[in-house]
Structure formats: structure tokens, C-alpha cells
């Protein structure tokens, strides 16, 4: 069971990474136009947003 010493922190870290990723996406406004973003991907135009 010694492996738990590694596995628990590793799984927590990975989960935390997902949570941090969600926060990042939220702050970047990636949930502001879900409808539009799903269509823009089909667009051949170069899209520089979000640029900052």
C-alpha cells in the first residue's frame, strides 16, 4: 500500500490541474458565446481572438 503515498497526491494534483484549467477558461470568457464558438470553428477566416 506504499504506492498510496504517491498515488493520492498525484491524483489530487491532476484533479487540481483540471480545476485550474476550468478557472482559466472561465476568466478568459470562453463560456460567453458557446453558440457562436461552435460555429466559428467551421469558418475559414483567421480568428485572432482571444488575443490577450
Amino acid at each position: 500500500m506504499d504506492v498510496l503515498i504517491w498515488l493520492i497526491p498525484v491524483s489530487l494534483f491532476l484533479g487540481g490541474l483540471g480545476l485550474a484549467g476550468f478557472f482559466w477558461a472561465l476568466r478568459k470568457g470562453q463560456f460567453e458565446d458557446p453558440e457562436g464558438d461552435s460555429r466559428r470553428i467551421l469558418n475559414p477566416d483567421y480568428d485572432e481572438k482571444p488575443k490577450d
Binding site: S11, L12, D33, P34, G36
Partner: protein, 731 residues
């Protein structure tokens, strides 16, 4: 945007558009310099639309960047200073899309966005923590022993404590504000259960005990936050749509100063200013006509469908629409002093009459919260006595009881149903502005309709055209073609539909406020108001035609019915509702219309006070009244009714006073709305029953001390999932 901060008695506390309107009124300056322009694009729907609009705008001079938001159906444009918005709108309309300017001041939605993001963040943290602790708990449930179990409990504690402190804040804040005024709400048992469960589990863990409720505390937080978030989202989408309606009416006016016309905000106008109102424009302030003649459409203010004449020295009021000729007004009252705003006092009075409605959830919480506390406390005392003073055991059982009885499913039961039902109605074009509007709609037994603009479109249609001779019709069409008056336009449209052509006419000129005249077949011909043509007026809406010295002929008009109006009336009657028509229009017009649409009870020439009083009288008889209206004269009645609906074309004040706004033109959604409301209320009640059954089964187990953390987790998840699934059955 806090509702508590609006100090005016006129603003109804329940409606979400009120703060937007207030904010709009407070906003005093035109935005200057480089700015973001927001346009509403109701017709965009595809990937190609996005790039067409963005590329089209990017090639327009004065535009820096443009970004379409398809979810909100808006485009925000970053412009150079001084770029006229009209150019941008014209550009988009040239591309084939509808565009309307939105007032940026009314759309300051950043505050609500921030709240939504905040809730979502707490929800994400609760979810993350819950999943991790669940995994650790599974190991404990499946038989981890001794040091391993203690380690798992300690790790769970390390995750749970910060997560619960962060995620549970909305509950703690709400519970504290209820306790401060010595009241109980749902959040008090919730907060108590979360805090006690964590505290007890920590104590147990430190004594290396067997049971810890960290996962229960977290699932409780997660499920309840989910309910809170759903609830918030429903309100936010209604609020943003209501704000958009307010923002569509950019209050601007053309001020005349030293012979030049300058566009200014209505709030910048002062008493004594000269204002120019173009034909087709809404009158922005109360005033007296100084120059020009025209006809005025007062239907939104009084319900009269007949346009009235306005010439020099005539008094006109904010909200009326100028029909034919340009008018110059001297401002006699602005802003809060206008007749439009004085009606607000009437609304305040009517509102105080509306009984304070207690939602089903409130009533349930009031009955439920004390029971939870008393039960938990009684369990603790009873077990203290049974076990001979074993505080640890007694507390364990008491906390298990508290967790199991905690209104987890109740917190989800109402929001899940309201979200499902208002989503359904939103797709049908109904915007639910108030959280309890659906429940109130389900109770309605009497429906009161306004006529002009509600059951009718406010668009006239000529009657008995075929009774006229071909010569008269052709002459009338030729004259009407030259005017933009609504009656003239209606005549031309009806003529075209009947396959009639305007006859030859020369020297056709419009005399604003009176009518049109010209030469038809070498004869002087006039089409217009009775007195001007030399005819005796009839009681109905009519225009009069005179050819040479012949007897004048009246062409009578009736208001065209709103699409779906007959169907809505039919469905409501089939549902057993009592229907009443209440209008400010003349007796003949109202009676004629009531017969056409099939309503038996009709009241005509009702003043705003009359309407409100009649609605109040019906309520005093114990009837639950649904008021459907659009005009200023309906506003007080809308506020006084048990629940109220207004079409999107209604005056801002009427929309603010009503609980539900009808977005499309079609009224047929009304019958559906009543059915959906009844079904939603049934689902809410079922959900209450389901969660009560769970409690009835689980509570005895908890009381006897057989509840384990596993049982608590199962009961909680199962009941939450059942109520959510049941909510989706709303139709």
C-alpha cells in the same frame, strides 16, 4: 444589480426590468469619444452570418473591430469617435440582417455576469472536492481499516474544510441574514448540517472513529449549489432579455436651437426647450405644439384606436406617436413630471394591494425548517438519555439525522422545474420575469384582456371595400398612395391584396393632420378627416372620401386581430376561465370587437383607475386574475392583477409592471403558457412528495442509529437525481 437599492416606490420590487429602466433614466450624458456600440441582431443564426456581419463591418469606415456574439445575438463594435450608429445599422441591413441599437447604459450587465461566474466557480470547487472525497470514501466503505482509514479521513478533511468554507458561502450569508431578523429559511438547516457534519467528522477523525461525513457535507453543498445556479441562470436570462427590451428604446430627441436640430438625450431636455418630432416618431416629453399639424396615435396611453388631430396649442404627452406631419413642441414637462411617469404612482398604489404572494417553496420551507431542527435536537437528547450520557454517540446520530433530513432535494426541486418550464416557454416566445410567476399563473381562473394593441395589432383594416364603387376605390387608392398615415397605408395594402389599382391622379399633396388632396379625373378629391372633407363623422375609425361635389363617403376601418388571438381565447375558454374584455376605446368599437372575437363580457371607455379598480374588485371576490395588456392605461391593472402578461410591443412601463413578456407577435402561446404553468406546479408538488417519501423512509433508520455515511450518501444522491428527472417531465 440589487433591487433593494431602488428607492422609488414606483419601481415594482419584483421586476427585473425596473432597475434597468431606472439606470437608463439616471444616465444623463451621450457617450462621447471612441466607444463600443452594441447592436441587437435578432435574425442571425449561422456561421456564415457571423463572418458576413464581421467582415461587412470591418470594411465600414470608422469601425476598428466588430465581434458577433451568437448566443446573445448581438454584435459589439469598437468605433472611432463620432461614427454615426445609423451608418452601422444601414450597413448591416444592407447585408440582409435586422439591426437595432442597444443602449449601452442599460446593458451594464457586468455585475450579474460576475455573480454568475462566482456561483459557477464555487460549483466547480464543490464538484472537484466532492469527487475526490467520494473516491477516498469508497475505500473506507469497502472496508479500509485502522491507520489507512484514518489517513483517508485526514486527507478528506484537508480537502473538505477549505472547499466547504469557499463553496458554502452563499448559504452561510443567506442563513445569517435570516437569523439576524430572527427568522428561519431553508439555508439555516443547510448551513447547520454542513458545519455540524464537518465539525463532527473532524472530531471523529481525531479520535480515529469509524464514521466521517465529509463526503455528505460536500455532496450537500454541491447539489444545493447546483439548484442555486440553475435558479440564477433562469433569472439571468430573463433579466438580460428584459434589459435588452429596455435598451432597444434609446431615449433621444431632436432639440431645436437657433434653427438647428441637434440630437440629445431626453434627460438633457429642459422645460421651455423646443423639440422636433418627425412623423412616425414617439413623442419624448409632455409639451404644447408650437408649429405644424398632424395626427396623434394615443392608443398606448388611452386605448383609443382613433387617431386625434394635433395643431398649434394642442397638448401632447410623452409616449404618444406622431403620425403624419412634423411637429415642433415646447417642452412643458420632462422625465418624472410627465404624464407617463405620473402613472407610476398609480402602479405603486395598485401594487400595495397585491397580496404578498408566498411561493410553494417558501411555504414548504416554513413548515420544514423547524421540524428538521427539532428532530435533530430531540434525537440528541433522547440518545443522551438512552446511552447514559455518551455525547459522542448521541452527536453522531443527531448529525446523521440532520444530514438525512436536510432539504437537499427540496433545494433542487423548485429550481429544476422552473428552469425546465421557463426554458420551454422561452422557446415559445414567453419571457418569465418573475420567479413565482409560473406558480401564480397556474392558479388563474379569470383572464382580463385589453383590446387595442393586445388582442389587436393596432393596425387598422378597411371594412366593406367591395361596397364602394370602382371609381371611388381607385380615387381613394390614388390619394392614399401619397400618404404614410396608418389608415392610408392600410387602405393601399388592402387594395393591393384585392387586386385593385390606384386610378390616375395629379397634384396629390398631403396636408399633415388633415388628409390628402389631389385632382382625379378633373375633379378636386379629398381623403381625410371628416370635418376637413365636409362629412358627418361616424362613431368608428374611418376616413372620408369626397370626389368633386359628390356626397362624401366614409371608409370604415376595424383593428386587425393579433395572430393567434382567437386560438388563445378558444383555449382559455376551453380551460374553463372567465374572459373579460376591458378597453378604453369607444363603446361601439369595443362591442363590435368583443362580438368578433367571442368574448361575452366587455367593458368600454375604462379609465386607467377604472381598470385597476375592476381588477381589484375581482380579486376581492376571490378570483385570481390574469391581466393581459400593453398600454399605459393598463399599467396599474397589470400591477394589481394576480399575474400579468404584456406583449413586447407594449410601453416600457407596462412591460415593467408585468410578470411575463410575450416576445413574438403571436398570442397563441398564451393557452400553452397556462397549461405549462399548471403542469409545472404539479411537478413541483410531486417533487416535494418524493423528497418527503425519502425522508419518511430514511429518518427512522437515522433515528435508530443505523445510518452510515454510505446510507446518507445514497439517500441524498438518489433523491436529488429523482427530482431532477421528474422536473424534465414538464410539458
Amino acid at each position: 444589480m440589487s433591487l433593494a437599492e431602488t428607492p422609488h416606490p414606483a419601481a415594482c420590487p419584483a421586476c427585473v426590468a425596473a432597475p434597468a429602466a431606472e439606470e437608463l433614466a439616471a444616465h444623463a450624458k451621450l457617450p462621447e469619444g471612441p466607444g463600443t456600440v452594441q447592436l441587437s441582431l435578432p435574425t442571425i443564426h449561422c456561421a456564415a452570418c457571423i463572418s458576413a456581419v464581421e467582415r461587412g463591418l470591418a470594411s465600414t469606415p470608422g469601425v476598428r473591430t466588430a465581434r458577433v456574439n451568437l448566443t446573445l445575438k448581438r454584435v459589439s463594435i469598437d468605433t472611432e469617435p463620432g461614427t454615426p450608429v445609423e451608418d452601422l445599422i444601414a450597413r448591416i441591413e444592407g447585408l440582409g440582417y435586422e439591426a437595432h441599437e442597444l443602449d449601452a447604459a442599460a446593458l451594464s450587465a457586468t455585475e450579474t455576469d460576475r455573480r454568475g461566474r462566482d456561483l459557477l466557480m464555487r460549483l466547480a470547487v464543490a464538484f472537484f472536492a466532492n469527487m475526490n472525497v467520494m473516491l477516498l470514501s469508497v475505500a473506507v466503505w469497502s472496508g479500509a481499516e485502522g491507520v489507512t482509514r484514518d489517513m483517508f479521513h485526514w486527507i478528506s478533511a484537508a480537502i473538505t474544510i477549505p472547499a466547504v468554507i469557499f463553496s458554502g458561502q452563499p448559504f452561510y450569508a443567506s442563513a445569517w441574514s435570516a437569523l439576524r431578523v430572527r427568522r428561519l429559511n431553508m439555508d439555516v438547516p443547510i448551513s447547520l448540517a454542513i458545519v455540524l457534519a464537518v465539525a463532527l467528522s473532524l472530531w471523529e477523525t481525531s479520535l480515529s472513529g469509524k464514521h466521517a461525513y465529509f463526503d455528505a457535507a460536500l455532496s450537500l453543498t454541491f447539489f444545493l449549489l447546483l439548484g442555486r445556479y440553475l435558479d440564477y441562470r433562469t433569472r439571468a436570462s430573463a433579466r438580460s432579455a428584459a434589459q435588452e427590451l429596455t435598451a432597444l428604446e434609446v431615449p433621444k430627441a431632436w432639440r431645436l436651437r437657433d434653427g438647428a436640430e441637434v440630437q440629445v438625450r431626453v434627460n438633457d431636455l429642459a422645460v421651455g426647450d423646443l423639440v422636433r418630432v418627425r412623423p412616425g416618431g414617439r413623442i419624448p416629453v409632455d409639451g404644447v405644439v408650437v408649429e405644424g399639424t398632424s395626427e396623434i396615435d394615443r392608443s398606448l396611453m388611452t386605448g383609443e384606436s382613433l387617431p386625434v388631430f394635433a395643431g398649434p396649442d394642442a397638448a401632447v404627452h410623452a409616449g404618444e406617436v406622431n403620425l403624419t406631419g412634423p411637429l415642433s413642441l415646447r417642452v412643458s414637462a420632462t422625465g418624472r413630471d410627465t404624464a407617463l411617469h405620473r402613472i407610476a404612482d398609480l402602479v405603486a398604489v395598485a401594487e400595495s394591494g397585491r397580496t404578498n404572494y408566498n411561493s410553494l417553496a417558501d411555504r414548504m420551507a416554513r413548515a420544514y425548517a423547524p421540524v428538521v431542527h427539532i428532530l435533530a435536537a430531540a434525537t440528541f437528547i433522547a440518545w443522551m438519555w438512552v446511552s447514559g450520557g455518551d455525547a459522542r454517540l448521541s452527536l453522531n446520530i443527531a448529525v446523521a439525522t440532520l444530514i438525512i433530513t436536510c432539504p437537499c432535494a427540496l433545494g433542487l426541486a423548485v429550481p429544476a422545474v422552473t428552469t425546465a418550464a421557463s426554458g420551454r416557454l422561452f422557446r415559445k416566445g414567453l419571457l418569465i420575469k418573475d420567479g413565482t410567476a409560473l406558480e401564480r399563473l397556474a392558479e388563474v381562473d379569470t383572464v382580463v384582456f385589453d383590446k387595442t394593441g393586445t388582442l389587436t395589432m393596432g393596425l387598422p383594416e378597411p371594412l366593406d371595400l367591395d361596397m364602394l364603387s370602382r371609381r371611388d376605390i381607385e380615387a381613394a387608392l390614388a390619394l392614399a398612395d401619397a400618404s404614410s398615415h396608418p389608415l392610408a397605408k392600410a387602405l393601399v395594402k388592402a387594395g393591393r391584396r384585392a387586386g385593385l389599382r390606384p386610378g390616375p391622379a395629379t397634384d396629390v399633396t398631403e396636408v399633415p393632420g388633415y388628409g390628402v388632396e389631389g385632382i382625379v379625373r378633373d375633379e378636386r378629391a379629398r381623403l381625410g378627416r371628416a370635418a376637413w372633407v365636409g362629412a358627418d363623422g361616424v362613431a368608428q375609425t374611418a376616413t372620408y372620401l369626397r370626389l368633386g361635389s359628390a356626397e362624401p363617403i366614409a371608409i370604415r376601418f376595424a383593428d386587425s386581430m393579433r395572430p393567434g388571438a382567437e386560438q388563445a381565447i378558444e383555449e382559455l375558454r376551453a380551460a374553463g376561465k372567465r374572459l373579460i374584455l376591458m378597453s378604453g376605446d369607444s363603446d361601439a368599437a369595443v362591442r363590435d370587437f368583443a362580438r368578433r372575437i367571442g368574448i361575452d363580457e366587455a367593458v368600454s371607455e375604462a379609465l386607467p383607475e377604472d381598470k385597476a379598480r375592476m381588477v381589484a374588485d375581482l380579486a376581492a371576490e376571490g378570483r385570481k386574475v390574469l391581466m393581459v395588456g400593453d398600454g399605459l392605461n393598463d399599467t396599474a391593472a397589470l400591477a394589481a392583477a394576480h399575474v400579468s402578461i404584456s406583449p413586447a410591443t407594449a410601453l416600457d412601463a407596462a412591460r415593467v409592471a408585468s410578470d411575463i413578456v410575450l416576445m413574438g407577435k403571436d398570442l397563441s402561446a398564451l393557452g400553452d403558457a397556462a397549461l405549462t404553468a399548471v403542469s409545472a406546479r404539479a411537478r413541483i408538488k410531486e417533487n416535494f412528495t418524493i423528497s418527503t417519501i425519502y425522508n419518511v423512509v430514511a429518518v427512522p433508520i437515522a433515528l435508530l442509529g443505523f445510518a452510515t455515511p454510505l446510507a446518507a450518501a445514497l439517500a441524498m444522491s438518489l433523491s436529488s437525481i429523482t427530482v431532477s428527472l421528474n422536473a424534465l417531465r414538464v410539458r
